[in-house]
């Protein structure tokens, strides 16, 4: 669970190598057996470098998404229409920060350095979910983000509670428990607006129209173009393909939209009795590519905000460090004064 464990792990690994030339193969076999028996890999276990690297990238990207994900909704905290909505939105945005930190903590068990991950995000060397590069234009967007974006996140994350890497799976359990509140507050917000004026109903429909396709793109490119899927599924750090999860999300959302009284903006969307699933149109993958490559409506704004938050917080981090150093020196001085008898 800690850096010290990672170091021990490396030593242990080295000892194994020293003992036997076939050490690596034996370790790999043990690792493969653990995965195939559906058991968890824990931080101090031997693991292939590729597994470690892929997991760090996946967990870091997930953590960054939670942190950047605070922004689109955070913008509405000061403009929430009631104290009730403001308190809810506060709690939700705090949760996103918490989710980011659970995940950074999990990434650290793999030997990643938290400050380094933050740097990678700020310098644009690691990515976050494409969905957060879209603007929140009216208050209904807050509801639709809870309903669609957190709903999609739940589809993605519930299977990951069974991921092969212990700390990641445990972080997912915590996150999924909290995510349920996020989705429900969004849907409840939208139900409230749908019971309001015609203008409010139009705001909801407008938000649905704008967020539907970006939400479907959250699951990533189609399976035919998803490069990491096969290896990640063999390692059990991905349990369903992008297309499977996207389908699950559509099937889950259609009846909710009907109940709410909004129209999902896809004329091809209909139930297919033969497949037992809804058919739906293909999202515009060129848009997803554009947004991932940095050319979405809000990429620059999100990054600038994250960078500013980091820089503006520097003095706080420095002051806390200075205070801790002063207290430690104080304690040491007291001990010296008390002398050997004390």
């Amino acid at each position: 669970m800690s850096n010290v464990e990672v170091e021990n792990d490396a030593q242990h690994h080295a000892q194994h190598h020293a003992q036997s030339g076939t050490g690596e193969r034996r370790l790999q076999a043990h690792f493969d057996r653990t995965i195939s028996h559906n058991q968890r890999i824990e931080p101090r276990d031997w693991m292939p470098e590729g597994y470690r690297k892929t997991l760090i990238r996946q967990i870091a990207q997930h953590a960054h998404s939670e942190i950047i994900g605070m922004q689109p909704e955070g913008e509405w905290i000061t403009r929430a229409p009631s104290l009730r909505r403001k308190a809810i939105l506060f709690a939700k945005v705090q949760d996103e920060a918490g989710h980011g930190l659970y995940l950074y903590s999990a990434a650290e068990t793999l030997g990643a350095d938290r400050a380094d991950l933050t740097e990678r995000l700020i310098e644009g060397r690691q990515k976050y979910s494409s969905i957060f590069n879209y603007p929140t234009l009216n208050f209904a967007d807050v509801g639709v983000i809870g309903w669609f974006v957190d709903g999609a996140a739940i589809c993605n994350q519930v299977p990951l509670c069974r991921s092969s890497y212990g700390p990641y799976a445990r972080a997912m359990v915590r996150i999924c428990k909290e995510e349920s509140f996020h989705q429900r507050q969004g849907y409840e917000l939208l139900m409230t607006m749908m019971r309001g004026t015609e203008a409010q109903r139009q705001m909801v429909q407008d938000a649905v129209d704008r967020w539907w396709w970006p939400s479907l793109m959250m699951f990533g490119p189609p399976d035919s173009e998803s490069s990491h899927t096969v290896q990640s599924m063999a390692w059990r750090i991905k349990l369903h393909t992008n297309d499977e999860l996207r389908q699950r999300f559509v099937d889950m959302t259609v009846p909710q939209a009907e109940k709410l009284g909004v129209v999902l903006p896809d004329p091809q969307l209909r139930w297919n009795n033969e497949r037992g699933h809804h058919d739906f149109s293909t999202p515009d993958w060129s848009e997803l590519k554009r947004v991932i490559d940095g050319d979405g409506p809000c990429n620059a704004q999100r990054m600038a905000r994250r960078r500013a938050a980091h820089e503006e917080g520097a003095w706080v981090r420095e002051a806390a460090g200075a205070y801790a150093a002063k207290q430690a020196a104080h304690e040491a001085g007291k001990k010296r004064q008390e002398g050997p008898a004390g």
């Binding site: 669970m1 792990d9 242990h12 709690a91 981090r317 806390a320 460090g321």
Partner: protein, 97 residues
């Protein structure tokens, strides 16, 4: 202790969910000192009354066994089946045992 954020030590966090239960490891965090670790742990890991007591301990203060579950370290308990109640055959008609 240092002024460099990068060197803020890592702490492991343990929470007692309710009275009568053990503290359980829940994750880790960075903090400048012990007190900050405790308040951060409260903010991060008990936003929904998940705990009645928190322990934080610097990760570098933990001594751990070697990684592999099959490590010889655990061998002494491996072959002592007589430490388990099921090792002993007792006739079915003997009550309360």
């Amino acid at each position: 202790m240092t002024r460099d954020r990068r060197k803020w030590p890592l702490y492991e966090v343990f929470i007692r969910g309710k009275r009568g239960l053990n503290h359980v490891h829940v994750g880790s965090l960075h903090a400048a000192d012990d007190r900050m670790a405790l308040t951060h742990a409260r903010d991060l890991y008990t936003r929904r009354n998940e705990g009645v007591s928190i322990w934080v301990v610097r990760s570098d203060a933990i001594t751990a066994s070697t990684p592999d579950e099959k490590d010889p370290f655990f061998a002494p308990s491996g072959d002592k089946v007589y430490r388990h109640p099921t090792f002993y055959d007792i006739p079915e008609d003997v009550p309360h045992i």
